[in-house]
């Protein structure tokens, strides 16, 4: 469920019509062409969509390479926040 919601958000950030399909294994930089601005946009949208605060997780978030890795991390943050 988290993965599906996250994929929709990633699709919104990567708005290019030539963007590849977003998969769990998709790497943000190498496969999706993420820039630093894209990363900022993604984090802001995740906070809105999942109603979580990621400020204290910046260091860990910047080390996540794939969409699936981000989904797992968000799930754990959301679970802790409940």
């Amino acid at each position: 469920m988290t993965m599906e919601r996250l994929a929709q958000i990633v699709n919104r950030v990567v708005s290019s019509p030539r963007a590849p399909e977003v998969r769990e294994s998709s790497r943000f930089v190498e496969d999706l062409g993420f820039s630093s601005v894209n990363a900022i946009m993604l984090i802001a949208l995740i906070e809105q969509e999942f109603e979580i605060d990621l400020e204290q997780h910046m260091t860990q978030l910047m080390q996540i390479q794939t969409v699936g890795g981000a989904a797992d991390y968000i799930s754990s943050v959301a679970a802790d926040a409940k």
Binding site: S15, V29, E30, M41, Q56, M62
Partner: protein
């Protein structure tokens, strides 16, 4: 093509928010906010500033060293710009210098340090710089003219005199930077008078292979003591991307004046350095037409010679 005996990154920074005032990040955030809003996701400048701030917590250089190890980089020059005069920051430059001493002790033989001092601090700043050289063993001077001074202003000359006496290089920031600073002092030509007055001092135009490149190239070609670095090449504004830009730069007979740099953590915090190195040294990469002597020079030998250290494994 062989990788050089020891790759040296001549331009990087500690990703520590204890070294950079918040106002610097706020300027960077202002540009990112415009871009994200254009792409349909408005994010406030304050929010982005905070995000950037929280990404810079590698106070002891552990993450940087891990990146270097992964990318095959033996050593790096840590540049310590002095923003404390222009931003009237609570951070003082001596504390920042001592933080870099601690980082060096924690990671022996991995870092050379170029200490920054805003020349408007006057004698207090000059004395601090000399102490950084004689007591801390730092290897060079870092200047950040967009803080509001020309690198050829005579107020800077006492710092160059210290560099001349101790045979130290000077790395001068060139090109646009955080919009909270003054770009008019970022022109590579502004180094001309200083380079002429201090022929025994070697000057490196920081980002000269990326920003205002035509001016930087001409300074390197016609001033024997002027060099340039190629940081942060991944974000160069070029139709064909950075590989094409570097291929062209390396084909102009200036390779004896060019040194490699990443500008870590700026622009590469997310990607990491290894993918960049792999692309640089790939068979079809921008080094494909270079002789080994040029590769060794750009990726290590030249910066080692500039700081007066032996080069090798």
């Amino acid at each position: 093509m062989q990788r050089p005996p020891a790759i040296i990154d001549a331009h990087c920074h500690l990703a520590s928010n204890r070294c950079v005032p918040r106002e610097f990040f706020a300027g960077v955030a202002a540009n990112m906010a415009r871009s994200s809003a254009f792409q349909g996701v408005p994010v406030s400048v304050d929010k982005i500033t905070q995000m950037l701030w929280l990404q810079h917590e590698d106070h002891m250089g552990d993450k940087l060293v891990a990146q270097m190890d992964e990318a095959g980089i033996a050593r790096a020059v840590l540049l310590v710009p002095d923003f404390t005069y222009v931003f009237k920051s609570p951070i003082d430059i001596e504390s920042i210098a001592r933080q870099h001493v601690t980082v060096r002790e924690r990671h022996p033989d991995r870092f050379w340090v170029f200490q920054g001092v805003d020349p408007r601090w006057g004698k207090e700043g000059f004395d601090l710089f000399e102490r950084a050289v004689t007591e801390f063993g730092f290897e060079g001077l870092k200047l950040y003219p967009p803080c509001g001074f020309s690198p050829s202003s005579e107020i800077v000359f006492p710092l160059y005199e210290i560099c001349r006496r101790h045979r130290l290089p000077v790395l001068v920031h060139t090109g646009p930077t955080s919009p909270t600073l003054d770009f008019t002092f970022a022109d590579p030509y502004l180094i001309d008078k200083a380079a002429r007055e201090f022929p025994e001092v070697n000057f490196i135009l920081g980002h000269g292979g990326v920003n205002l490149v035509e001016q930087a190239k001409l300074m390197c070609k016609y001033r024997p003591n002027v060099y340039l670095d190629i940081s942060p090449f991944p974000v160069v504004l070029c139709d064909g991307g950075w590989p094409q830009h570097l291929t062209s730069l390396f084909a102009q007979g200036l390779n004896h004046k060019i040194v490699f740099g990443t500008d870590w953590p700026v622009h590469s915090l997310q990607t990491g350095v290894r993918p960049l190195m792999d692309e640089l040294f790939s068979e079809r990469g921008p080094l494909r037409a270079l002789e080994q002597r040029s590769i060794d020079g750009i990726f290590g030998r030249s910066i080692a010679e500039l700081v007066g250290k032996p080069y090798g494994n």
